[in-house]
Protein backbone atom coordinates (compact mmCIF):
# COMPACT_ATOMS: atom_id res chain seq x y z
CA UNK A 1 0.00 0.00 0.00
CA UNK A 2 1.43 3.39 -0.95
CA UNK A 3 2.29 5.46 2.15
CA UNK A 4 0.11 8.29 0.95
CA UNK A 5 -2.97 6.06 0.91
CA UNK A 6 -2.06 4.80 4.36
CA UNK A 7 -2.51 8.32 5.67
CA UNK A 8 -6.13 8.27 4.55
CA UNK A 9 -6.86 4.95 6.23
CA UNK A 10 -8.21 6.47 9.49
CA UNK A 11 -10.45 8.78 7.45
CA UNK A 12 -11.78 5.86 5.41
CA UNK A 13 -12.48 3.83 8.56
CA UNK A 14 -14.21 6.84 10.10
CA UNK A 15 -16.43 7.40 7.06
CA UNK A 16 -17.48 3.73 6.89
CA UNK A 17 -18.20 3.63 10.62
CA UNK A 18 -20.10 6.93 10.49
CA UNK A 19 -22.16 5.56 7.60
CA UNK A 20 -23.21 2.51 9.61
CA UNK A 21 -23.93 4.54 12.73
CA UNK A 22 -25.96 7.09 10.79
CA UNK A 23 -28.06 4.28 9.31
CA UNK A 24 -28.53 2.94 12.81
CA UNK A 25 -30.12 6.21 13.90
CA UNK A 26 -33.13 5.63 11.69
CA UNK A 27 -33.59 1.93 12.48
CA UNK A 28 -36.17 0.84 15.01
CA UNK A 29 -34.54 -1.72 17.32
CA UNK A 30 -37.96 -2.95 18.41
CA UNK A 31 -39.13 -3.74 14.89
CA UNK A 32 -39.51 -7.49 14.58
CA UNK A 33 -39.98 -9.10 11.20
CA UNK A 34 -43.02 -11.33 11.29
CA UNK A 35 -42.31 -15.01 10.85
CA UNK A 36 -45.76 -15.48 9.35
CA UNK A 37 -45.38 -13.38 6.22
CA UNK A 38 -46.54 -15.46 3.22
CA UNK A 39 -47.87 -18.13 5.56
CA UNK A 40 -51.58 -18.91 5.91
CA UNK A 41 -53.57 -17.31 8.69
CA UNK A 42 -53.50 -19.84 11.59
CA UNK A 43 -56.50 -22.05 12.17
CA UNK A 44 -58.70 -21.05 15.09
CA UNK A 45 -62.03 -21.85 16.62
CA UNK A 46 -63.24 -18.89 18.65
CA UNK A 47 -66.42 -16.90 19.13
CA UNK A 48 -67.76 -13.73 17.60
CA UNK A 49 -68.00 -10.77 19.95
CA UNK A 50 -71.44 -9.60 18.81
CA UNK A 51 -73.40 -12.83 19.38
CA UNK A 52 -70.96 -15.47 20.71
CA UNK A 53 -71.46 -17.46 17.51
CA UNK A 54 -68.76 -19.91 16.53
CA UNK A 55 -66.11 -18.39 14.27
CA UNK A 56 -63.46 -20.32 12.33
CA UNK A 57 -60.70 -19.43 9.94
CA UNK A 58 -62.89 -20.37 6.96
CA UNK A 59 -65.51 -17.81 8.05
CA UNK A 60 -63.18 -14.85 7.82
CA UNK A 61 -60.98 -15.55 4.79
CA UNK A 62 -62.05 -15.24 1.17
CA UNK A 63 -61.28 -11.63 0.35
CA UNK A 64 -58.45 -9.18 0.89
CA UNK A 65 -58.92 -7.82 4.41
CA UNK A 66 -57.21 -6.20 7.34
CA UNK A 67 -56.98 -8.04 10.65
CA UNK A 68 -56.61 -5.62 13.50
CA UNK A 69 -55.45 -6.84 16.92
CA UNK A 70 -56.90 -4.57 19.59
CA UNK A 71 -58.00 -4.40 23.20
CA UNK A 72 -59.71 -1.91 25.47
CA UNK A 73 -56.66 -1.83 27.78
CA UNK A 74 -54.50 -0.73 24.85
CA UNK A 75 -54.20 3.05 24.82
CA UNK A 76 -52.76 3.26 21.30
CA UNK A 77 -55.81 1.34 20.07
CA UNK A 78 -58.01 4.22 21.18
CA UNK A 79 -55.79 6.56 19.16
CA UNK A 80 -56.06 4.26 16.18
CA UNK A 81 -59.79 3.66 16.37
CA UNK A 82 -61.09 6.78 14.53
CA UNK A 83 -58.87 6.09 11.55
CA UNK A 84 -60.08 2.48 11.34
CA UNK A 85 -63.59 3.96 11.13
CA UNK A 86 -62.44 6.13 8.22
CA UNK A 87 -61.05 3.06 6.43
CA UNK A 88 -64.22 1.07 7.10
CA UNK A 89 -66.29 3.93 5.65
CA UNK A 90 -64.20 3.64 2.48
CA UNK A 91 -65.39 0.04 2.24
CA UNK A 92 -62.23 -1.70 3.39
CA UNK A 93 -63.08 -4.91 5.26
CA UNK A 94 -61.50 -4.96 8.72
CA UNK A 95 -61.73 -7.93 11.04
CA UNK A 96 -61.02 -7.31 14.69
CA UNK A 97 -59.13 -9.66 16.95
CA UNK A 98 -60.12 -8.67 20.46
CA UNK A 99 -56.95 -9.69 22.25
CA UNK A 100 -57.01 -10.67 25.93
CA UNK A 101 -59.94 -8.48 26.71
CA UNK A 102 -63.23 -8.61 28.54
CA UNK A 103 -66.26 -9.04 26.33
CA UNK A 104 -68.38 -6.47 28.18
CA UNK A 105 -65.64 -3.82 28.02
CA UNK A 106 -65.06 -4.51 24.33
CA UNK A 107 -68.77 -4.31 23.55
CA UNK A 108 -69.07 -1.03 25.45
CA UNK A 109 -66.08 0.37 23.54
CA UNK A 110 -67.70 -0.46 20.20
CA UNK A 111 -71.04 1.02 21.28
CA UNK A 112 -69.42 4.25 22.39
CA UNK A 113 -66.75 4.77 19.76
CA UNK A 114 -68.32 3.08 16.76
CA UNK A 115 -67.73 -0.31 15.20
CA UNK A 116 -65.48 -0.35 12.13
CA UNK A 117 -65.20 -4.15 12.14
CA UNK A 118 -66.92 -6.65 9.89
CA UNK A 119 -66.69 -9.06 12.82
CA UNK A 120 -64.69 -9.38 16.00
CA UNK A 121 -62.90 -12.56 16.94
CA UNK A 122 -62.85 -12.98 20.71
CA UNK A 123 -59.36 -14.08 21.73
CA UNK A 124 -59.61 -13.90 25.52
CA UNK A 125 -56.82 -16.38 26.16
CA UNK A 126 -54.58 -14.89 23.49
CA UNK A 127 -54.20 -18.23 21.72
CA UNK A 128 -54.76 -16.82 18.25
CA UNK A 129 -52.45 -13.98 19.23
CA UNK A 130 -49.77 -16.51 20.17
CA UNK A 131 -50.19 -18.33 16.86
CA UNK A 132 -49.94 -15.03 15.00
CA UNK A 133 -46.82 -14.01 16.91
CA UNK A 134 -48.52 -10.92 18.33
CA UNK A 135 -46.29 -9.15 20.81
CA UNK A 136 -48.15 -5.93 21.42
CA UNK A 137 -51.43 -4.36 20.40
CA UNK A 138 -52.29 -2.72 18.10
CA UNK A 139 -51.05 -4.87 15.26
CA UNK A 140 -52.57 -4.98 11.81
CA UNK A 141 -52.23 -7.84 9.34
CA UNK A 142 -52.97 -7.70 5.64
CA UNK A 143 -54.43 -11.02 4.53
CA UNK A 144 -55.08 -11.85 0.89
CA UNK A 145 -58.09 -13.56 -0.65
CA UNK A 146 -56.65 -17.04 -0.16
CA UNK A 147 -56.07 -16.39 3.54
CA UNK A 148 -52.32 -15.85 3.36
CA UNK A 149 -50.73 -13.16 5.55
CA UNK A 150 -48.97 -10.66 3.32
CA UNK A 151 -47.94 -7.91 5.67
CA UNK A 152 -47.86 -6.98 9.32
CA UNK A 153 -47.77 -3.51 10.79
CA UNK A 154 -47.00 -3.16 14.49
CA UNK A 155 -48.33 0.05 16.01
CA UNK A 156 -51.02 2.55 15.20
CA UNK A 157 -52.43 2.66 11.67
CA UNK A 158 -52.96 6.28 10.75
CA UNK A 159 -53.28 8.30 7.57
CA UNK A 160 -49.51 8.28 6.98
CA UNK A 161 -49.04 4.54 7.58
CA UNK A 162 -52.05 3.69 5.45
CA UNK A 163 -51.14 5.78 2.40
CA UNK A 164 -47.39 5.11 2.55
CA UNK A 165 -47.23 1.46 3.53
CA UNK A 166 -50.50 -0.44 3.71
CA UNK A 167 -52.53 0.97 0.85
CA UNK A 168 -49.98 0.17 -1.90
CA UNK A 169 -49.85 -3.47 -0.75
CA UNK A 170 -53.63 -3.58 -0.36
CA UNK A 171 -54.14 -2.29 -3.90
CA UNK A 172 -51.57 -4.75 -5.22
CA UNK A 173 -53.39 -7.64 -3.55
CA UNK A 174 -56.71 -6.46 -5.02
CA UNK A 175 -55.30 -6.32 -8.54
CA UNK A 176 -53.64 -9.73 -8.08
CA UNK A 177 -56.98 -11.13 -7.09
CA UNK A 178 -58.89 -9.50 -9.93
Amino acid sequence: MPPRLKLFLPLIIFVVLAGFLFRGLSLDPKALPSALIDKPLPEFELTRLADNAQLRRADVVGRVALFNVWATWCISCRVEHPYLQVLADQGIPIYGINYKDENSAAQRWLNELGDPYVANIVDTEGTLGLDLGVYGAPETYLVDASGVIRFRHVGVVDERVWSNILQPIYQQLLTDEG
Binding site: K30, L32, A35, L36, G126, L130, G133, Y135, G136
Partner: protein, 173 residues
Protein backbone atom coordinates in the same frame (compact mmCIF):
# COMPACT_ATOMS: atom_id res chain seq x y z
CA UNK B 1 -18.28 -0.65 62.91
CA UNK B 2 -21.92 -1.34 63.22
CA UNK B 3 -22.46 -0.59 59.55
CA UNK B 4 -20.58 -3.49 58.13
CA UNK B 5 -23.00 -6.31 59.05
CA UNK B 6 -25.92 -4.31 57.66
CA UNK B 7 -24.09 -3.78 54.41
CA UNK B 8 -23.22 -7.47 54.21
CA UNK B 9 -26.84 -8.36 54.89
CA UNK B 10 -27.95 -6.06 52.07
CA UNK B 11 -25.46 -7.67 49.71
CA UNK B 12 -26.69 -11.14 50.63
CA UNK B 13 -30.30 -10.08 50.12
CA UNK B 14 -29.55 -8.56 46.74
CA UNK B 15 -27.63 -11.62 45.61
CA UNK B 16 -30.66 -13.77 46.35
CA UNK B 17 -32.76 -11.95 43.75
CA UNK B 18 -31.74 -14.24 40.93
CA UNK B 19 -33.83 -15.10 37.91
CA UNK B 20 -35.23 -18.19 39.58
CA UNK B 21 -37.24 -16.03 41.95
CA UNK B 22 -38.43 -13.63 39.27
CA UNK B 23 -41.02 -16.04 37.91
CA UNK B 24 -44.43 -15.46 39.36
CA UNK B 25 -46.50 -18.46 38.41
CA UNK B 26 -45.44 -21.95 39.33
CA UNK B 27 -45.99 -25.07 37.32
CA UNK B 28 -45.88 -28.52 38.80
CA UNK B 29 -44.26 -30.98 36.48
CA UNK B 30 -44.97 -34.66 36.31
CA UNK B 31 -41.26 -35.31 36.03
CA UNK B 32 -38.21 -33.47 37.39
CA UNK B 33 -36.54 -33.97 34.03
CA UNK B 34 -39.28 -31.84 32.47
CA UNK B 35 -38.71 -29.15 35.06
CA UNK B 36 -35.03 -28.99 34.22
CA UNK B 37 -35.81 -28.73 30.53
CA UNK B 38 -38.37 -26.01 31.32
CA UNK B 39 -35.72 -24.02 33.22
CA UNK B 40 -33.21 -24.41 30.43
CA UNK B 41 -35.60 -23.60 27.58
CA UNK B 42 -37.24 -20.65 29.32
CA UNK B 43 -33.75 -19.25 29.90
CA UNK B 44 -32.91 -19.65 26.24
CA UNK B 45 -36.07 -18.19 24.74
CA UNK B 46 -36.18 -14.47 24.32
CA UNK B 47 -39.18 -12.34 25.17
CA UNK B 48 -40.45 -10.66 21.97
CA UNK B 49 -41.80 -7.62 23.78
CA UNK B 50 -39.08 -6.77 26.31
CA UNK B 51 -36.26 -7.48 24.03
CA UNK B 52 -33.29 -8.13 26.22
CA UNK B 53 -34.86 -10.51 28.67
CA UNK B 54 -35.50 -14.18 28.39
CA UNK B 55 -39.01 -15.41 29.06
CA UNK B 56 -37.98 -16.76 32.47
CA UNK B 57 -37.01 -13.29 33.66
CA UNK B 58 -39.77 -11.26 32.08
CA UNK B 59 -43.10 -10.38 33.62
CA UNK B 60 -44.58 -9.19 30.34
CA UNK B 61 -47.94 -10.86 29.55
CA UNK B 62 -46.49 -12.27 26.35
CA UNK B 63 -43.70 -13.95 28.34
CA UNK B 64 -46.30 -15.47 30.67
CA UNK B 65 -48.15 -16.83 27.65
CA UNK B 66 -44.96 -18.27 26.22
CA UNK B 67 -44.08 -19.92 29.54
CA UNK B 68 -47.55 -21.45 29.64
CA UNK B 69 -47.17 -22.65 26.07
CA UNK B 70 -43.73 -24.07 26.89
CA UNK B 71 -45.14 -25.89 29.91
CA UNK B 72 -48.00 -27.36 27.89
CA UNK B 73 -45.70 -28.48 25.12
CA UNK B 74 -43.30 -30.10 27.59
CA UNK B 75 -46.11 -31.96 29.32
CA UNK B 76 -47.44 -33.06 25.93
CA UNK B 77 -44.11 -34.74 25.34
CA UNK B 78 -42.62 -32.50 22.66
CA UNK B 79 -38.87 -32.63 22.12
CA UNK B 80 -36.64 -29.57 22.60
CA UNK B 81 -36.21 -29.37 18.86
CA UNK B 82 -39.96 -29.38 18.21
CA UNK B 83 -40.60 -26.72 20.85
CA UNK B 84 -37.91 -24.40 19.53
CA UNK B 85 -39.07 -24.90 15.92
CA UNK B 86 -42.61 -24.06 16.97
CA UNK B 87 -41.50 -20.88 18.76
CA UNK B 88 -39.41 -19.86 15.75
CA UNK B 89 -42.38 -20.40 13.42
CA UNK B 90 -44.30 -17.81 15.45
CA UNK B 91 -41.68 -15.22 16.24
CA UNK B 92 -38.75 -15.93 13.93
CA UNK B 93 -35.14 -16.75 14.84
CA UNK B 94 -35.24 -13.64 17.00
CA UNK B 95 -36.90 -15.61 19.77
CA UNK B 96 -33.84 -17.79 20.35
CA UNK B 97 -30.77 -16.56 22.15
CA UNK B 98 -28.82 -19.28 20.37
CA UNK B 99 -30.14 -19.06 16.82
CA UNK B 100 -29.78 -22.01 14.48
CA UNK B 101 -26.67 -22.09 12.32
CA UNK B 102 -27.40 -21.37 8.68
CA UNK B 103 -29.70 -19.27 6.52
CA UNK B 104 -30.26 -15.70 7.62
CA UNK B 105 -28.36 -16.22 10.88
CA UNK B 106 -25.16 -17.24 9.07
CA UNK B 107 -23.75 -13.71 9.19
CA UNK B 108 -24.44 -13.60 12.92
CA UNK B 109 -22.40 -16.75 13.53
CA UNK B 110 -19.56 -16.04 11.13
CA UNK B 111 -19.05 -12.31 11.61
CA UNK B 112 -17.20 -12.61 14.98
CA UNK B 113 -14.72 -15.13 13.55
CA UNK B 114 -14.14 -13.01 10.44
CA UNK B 115 -13.64 -9.87 12.53
CA UNK B 116 -11.24 -11.71 14.86
CA UNK B 117 -9.20 -12.94 11.88
CA UNK B 118 -9.15 -9.43 10.40
CA UNK B 119 -7.95 -8.01 13.71
CA UNK B 120 -5.27 -10.68 14.09
CA UNK B 121 -3.96 -10.16 10.56
CA UNK B 122 -3.86 -6.39 11.13
CA UNK B 123 -1.83 -6.90 14.31
CA UNK B 124 0.61 -9.30 12.59
CA UNK B 125 1.06 -6.88 9.68
CA UNK B 126 1.81 -3.99 12.01
CA UNK B 127 4.18 -6.08 14.14
CA UNK B 128 6.01 -7.43 11.10
CA UNK B 129 6.39 -3.94 9.62
CA UNK B 130 7.85 -2.58 12.86
CA UNK B 131 10.38 -5.44 13.30
CA UNK B 132 11.42 -5.07 9.65
CA UNK B 133 12.03 -1.35 10.15
CA UNK B 134 14.08 -1.80 13.30
CA UNK B 135 16.27 -4.52 11.75
CA UNK B 136 17.16 -2.56 8.61
CA UNK B 137 17.77 0.65 10.46
CA UNK B 138 21.25 0.50 12.04
CA UNK B 139 22.16 2.59 15.02
CA UNK B 140 25.52 3.59 13.53
CA UNK B 141 25.61 6.97 11.82
CA UNK B 142 26.55 7.33 8.19
CA UNK B 143 29.53 9.49 7.24
CA UNK B 144 27.39 12.40 6.28
CA UNK B 145 25.41 12.20 9.53
CA UNK B 146 28.63 12.00 11.56
CA UNK B 147 29.95 15.11 9.84
CA UNK B 148 26.71 16.95 10.56
CA UNK B 149 26.85 15.93 14.18
CA UNK B 150 30.44 17.08 14.51
CA UNK B 151 29.55 20.42 13.01
CA UNK B 152 26.74 20.87 15.52
CA UNK B 153 28.76 19.82 18.55
CA UNK B 154 32.04 21.61 17.94
CA UNK B 155 31.93 25.42 18.21
CA UNK B 156 32.40 26.83 14.76
CA UNK B 157 34.93 29.67 14.86
CA UNK B 158 33.95 31.24 11.62
CA UNK B 159 30.40 31.89 12.76
CA UNK B 160 31.59 33.31 16.11
CA UNK B 161 32.45 36.66 14.51
CA UNK B 162 28.90 37.80 14.07
CA UNK B 163 27.67 36.47 17.41
CA UNK B 164 26.77 40.04 18.41
CA UNK B 165 24.12 40.29 15.75
CA UNK B 166 22.68 36.85 16.53
CA UNK B 167 19.44 36.64 18.39
CA UNK B 168 20.73 33.92 20.72
CA UNK B 169 23.52 34.18 23.22
CA UNK B 170 24.96 37.59 23.87
CA UNK B 171 28.02 38.38 25.91
CA UNK B 172 27.45 40.90 28.60
CA UNK B 173 30.60 42.79 29.50
Amino acid sequence: MNRFPKLALLCICLSLCSSVFAVIETYSFSDTQLEQRYRRLSGELRCPKCQNQNIADSNAPIAQDLRKLLYEQLEAGASDEEILDDMVSRYGEFVRYRPRFGGVTLALWIAPVVLLLLGLSAVTLVLRASTKNSSTRSDALSDAEQAQLNALLSPDLSSDDNSNSGPGVQDKS
